[in-house]
Symmetry: C2
Subunit: 400 residues, 2 copies
C-alpha cells in the first residue's frame, strides 16, 4: 500500500477520503497497488468520522514519516499551505493540491522544487474542478502552440448568470438564492468580483506559455453590475451573458482578462449553463477543442485530486514534466486590446451615432435609454469615446 496524507479536512479533503474509499479497488487496479490514507492534518478533531484515528495536528508528524509518499493539500489560501507544501516537497514527498490561490501565486516555484527533488507537484483540481484541463494542457496539447484559452471557470457566477437569463431576476436576488443553495459563500466577493476566475486563467495561461503570469496583472471585472435590464437586451439580441476568463496570444504578447461577455448562439460556451464549467482551447495545429464538466463540488473536485494521486503513484520515481518556469511573462497592454462593446446610455441615438459612427442599435423596449453595439475598437479608444456620452448605464463586451 502506498501511504498518503491529507492536509485540510474540509469539503475537498473529506471528498478525497471518500473517493479513495468508494473506488479503492478500481484505483488499486490502475496502480498495481492500493493507496492508504495514513494521516489527516487539521486543527479540528472529527469524532465519529471514519478518519478520526488518523487525525494529527502537527504537520511535522507527516513531514518526518518516511512512509508517507503522497500528500494532498486541500487547505486553501496561500499560507500556511505554501509552507507546508514546501516542507513536504523538501522531504521528498509528492504533493497534489486543489488550491488555486497557492498554484497561481507559488506554482512555478513549487514545480521547480519538485523537479529538483525528483518528486511531483500536481494541481489538476485547481482549475475546472473535475474537468481534466491541467493534464490535457500539460501532456496532451503539447504538439500545439496555444493561441487562445477562453473559459467559464467559476460555477457560482455561471449559475447566477443562467438564472438571471432564464428568470429575469436581479443580481441581489439570485445571489441570495445561490447562497441559500450553498453555491455562493457568505462573502461572495472572490466569485462575483471575478478574483477566483482570474487566478484560474493565470494558471492556464502560465501553462500555455510555459512562463509565470501574475494574476495581479490580469484585468478583472466581475458580474456585480449586471442587471435584469442587461439580460433583457441580451435576450433581444439572441445572446447570453457569461463571465469569461480568457487569454489570447497576439503579436503584442499574451492578452488576458476576466469580464462578462455577451455570447451568441454560435459561440461554443453559449450552451454552458448552471454550475458547469467549460474551457475552450485553440491550438495552432489542433484547431478548436473544448472541455466541459462539473467545475466544482466535493466529489468532482476530489476526483481530480485523486487522479493526481494515481498519476503520482505511477510516477513515484519520476518527475512529470510541467512547462512553467518562474520567468515572468509580461502581459500585453490591456488598453490596446480590441473588442466590440454593448453599451446602454441615456444619450439619444443621434448623439451615439455622432460619437461612435455606425453602430447596431437594439430596442429592448426600455424607456429613456439607448442600447447599441459598437464596431471593433481598442479599450482606450472606447473609453475616450464613452466620455462623450452623457450617461453610461452599462458596458458589456461582445464575444467573438
Amino acid at each position: 500500500m502506498i501511504k498518503a496524507a491529507v492536509m485540510g479536512y474540509g469539503t475537498i479533503g473529506s471528498g478525497v477520503a471518500e473517493v479513495l474509499n468508494i473506488n479503492q479497488e478500481s484505483i488499486a487496479a490502475k496502480i498495481g497497488e492500493g493507496i492508504e490514507l495514513k494521516y489527516v492534518l487539521d486543527v479540528r478533531d472529527f469524532p465519529g468520522d471514519a478518519i478520526q484515528e488518523k487525525v494529527v495536528h502537527d504537520v511535522n508528524v507527516i513531514v518526518r514519516d518516511p512512509e508517507v509518499k503522497i500528500v494532498v493539500e486541500t487547505m486553501g489560501g496561500v499560507e500556511p499551505a505554501y509552507t507546508f507544501v514546501k516542507s513536504m516537497l523538501e522531504a521528498g514527498k509528492h504533493v497534489a493540491t486543489s488550491n488555486k490561490a497557492l498554484v497561481a501565486d507559488k506554482g512555478a516555484e513549487l514545480i521547480a522544487l519538485a523537479k529538483e527533488k525528483n518528486v511531483n507537484f500536481l494541481f489538476e483540481a485547481s482549475v475546472g474542478g473535475g474537468i481534466p484541463i491541467i493534464r490535457p494542457l500539460n501532456s496532451s496539447l503539447t504538439a500545439d502552440e496555444i493561441e487562445e484559452i477562453t473559459g467559464i471557470l467559476n460555477g457560482t457566477t455561471n449559475y447566477m448568470m443562467t438564472r438571471m437569463a432564464e428568470e429575469g431576476v436581479e443580481f441581489q436576488d439570485v445571489l441570495k438564492d445561490a447562497q441559500e443553495k450553498g453555491y455562493a459563500e457568505k462573502d461572495p466577493t472572490a466569485d462575483v468580483e471575478g478574483y477566483d476566475a482570474c487566478r484560474k486563467i493565470a494558471i492556464l495561461t502560465s501553462l500555455a506559455c510555459g512562463q509565470q503570469v501574475d494574476f495581479q496583472e490580469i484585468h478583472t471585472e466581475g458580474i456585480t453590475k449586471i442587471s435584469a435590464v442587461d439580460m433583457k437586451y441580451a435576450k433581444k439580441m439572441g445572446r447570453v451573458i457569461k463571465l469569461l476568463a480568457l487569454s489570447r496570444k497576439t503579436d503584442g504578447g499574451y492578452q488576458a482578462m476576466v469580464a462578462p461577455f455577451l455570447l451568441s448562439q454560435s459561440h461554443p460556451l453559449y450552451h454552458v449553463n448552471d454550475v458547469f464549467n467549460a474551457i475552450f482551447v485553440r491550438g495552432n495545429v489542433l484547431g478548436d477543442a473544448m472541455f466541459y464538466g462539473s467545475g466544482a463540488g466535493k466529489l468532482p473536485t476530489a476526483s481530480a485530486v485523486v487522479a493526481d494521486m494515481v498519476d503520482i503513484a505511477r510516477h513515484l520515481d519520476k518527475n512529470i514534466w510541467v512547462e512553467w518556469s518562474s520567468k515572468k511573462m509580461a502581459l500585453a497592454d490591456f488598453k490596446k486590446a480590441e473588442h466590440t462593446f454593448f453599451v446602454r446610455t441615456s444619450s439619444d441615438p443621434k448623439t451615439v451615432s455622432d460619437v461612435f459612427g455606425e453602430v447596431d442599435f437594439t430596442d429592448a423596449g426600455i424607456e429613456g435609454e439607448t442600447g447599441f453595439v459598437t464596431s471593433v475598437m481598442t479599450e482606450e479608444a472606447f473609453a475616450d469615446k464613452a466620455k462623450e456620452l452623457s450617461g453610461i448605464l452599462s458596458v458589456i463586451r461582445v464575444g467573438k
Copy 2:
C-alpha cells in the same frame, strides 16, 4: 535530437512531418530536446517533397537503426501495420499510432508487448482525431469508475446528419456532397455503416473497463436508412438525429452499440455539428464531462500523434501505464438493452395503441403514415411488438 520515423506518408503521416516542422521550437522546449524525422517509410517516393531524402522502402532499415527511438504508424489497416509495429516494439522502439483498426484489433497485445519491453505504445489519435480522450481516460479520469461513454466519433456522418437536418436533403445527395468536399471516401461504407465508430467505441470501452472488448460483438447500425422524412419528424419533435457510439456499465455488464439516435436540446451532444466530434463521459464520482473538438483532418489528427511523440520523449525510460489487458470482456446481451423507440409505420394510430399501449404520437404532416415514440422497453420486447404492425417505415432510438 531524438530520432523518429514515420511509417505511411499519407494524409496523417505527412501531417505529422508538417506539425514537427511548424512547431519544432515549442516542441523542443516541452521535451528539453528536439525531435528529428530520420526516415519516412512508404512504398512511394516523394520527389520534390521536403522529406524525399528520408524515404525508405524497407521497414528493416528502421528496425535495425538503434538511433531511432520513436516510430509513428500512420499506414492504416491491420496488416502490414501490425507486423511492422510489433517489430518496432520488439526492437525496443516506442510507437505512436493513429490507426483505429490496429488498436481495436491488437491494442491489448501491443500494450502488453510495450510494457514487457519497457517502451510505449500510444494511440491518442485513433479516437476523436485531435481531441484528447485516450490520455484523459487513461491518466485523468483514473479516480473514477466510468459508467457511460457516449460519443459522436465519426466526423463524416456527423457532417451528413447536420446537413440533412438543416437542409432537408436526402441521404444520397448529402453523401455526394460529402464526397465532393473530401469528407467522405469514394467507398463510404466504413463511415456510413458505423464500422469506424464501432472500432472507436470498442477502444474507449476497453480503456474504461481495462479489458478487451471485441468490436465484432458491438451491435452496429449506420445512417444509410435515415431519410429526409425522418428529419422532418425530428424537427417537429425539437430533436436532431446523430450517429452515437455508446457504452454503459449496467448490472448485467457493459452494453455497447453504434446507432442513430434522436437527441433533444438538453442532451450534451445535441449541439455538436458538422465534422466535429465529441465524447461525453460519466464517472461515478466525477459526474458528467465532455470533450469536444476536431475529430478528423490532417493537422488535428497529426497534432494528437505528435503529442504522443512528446509524451514518449518524456518517457523514453519508462512505460506509461495503460490499463487494457487481453482478458476478454463479454458484453451484456443487446436484446436486453432498454431504449425508447421512435417509429414510423403505415399502420393507423389505433393499431399502434393496441400493440404498444400508451405512446407519444407526432404529426409531421406526412400522409399515410403514423409516427410515435414508445415507452421504455427492451430491444427484444420492441422487436416482438413491431412484428405486429403492418409496415415499419423507420425505427430510430431516442437518446436519454
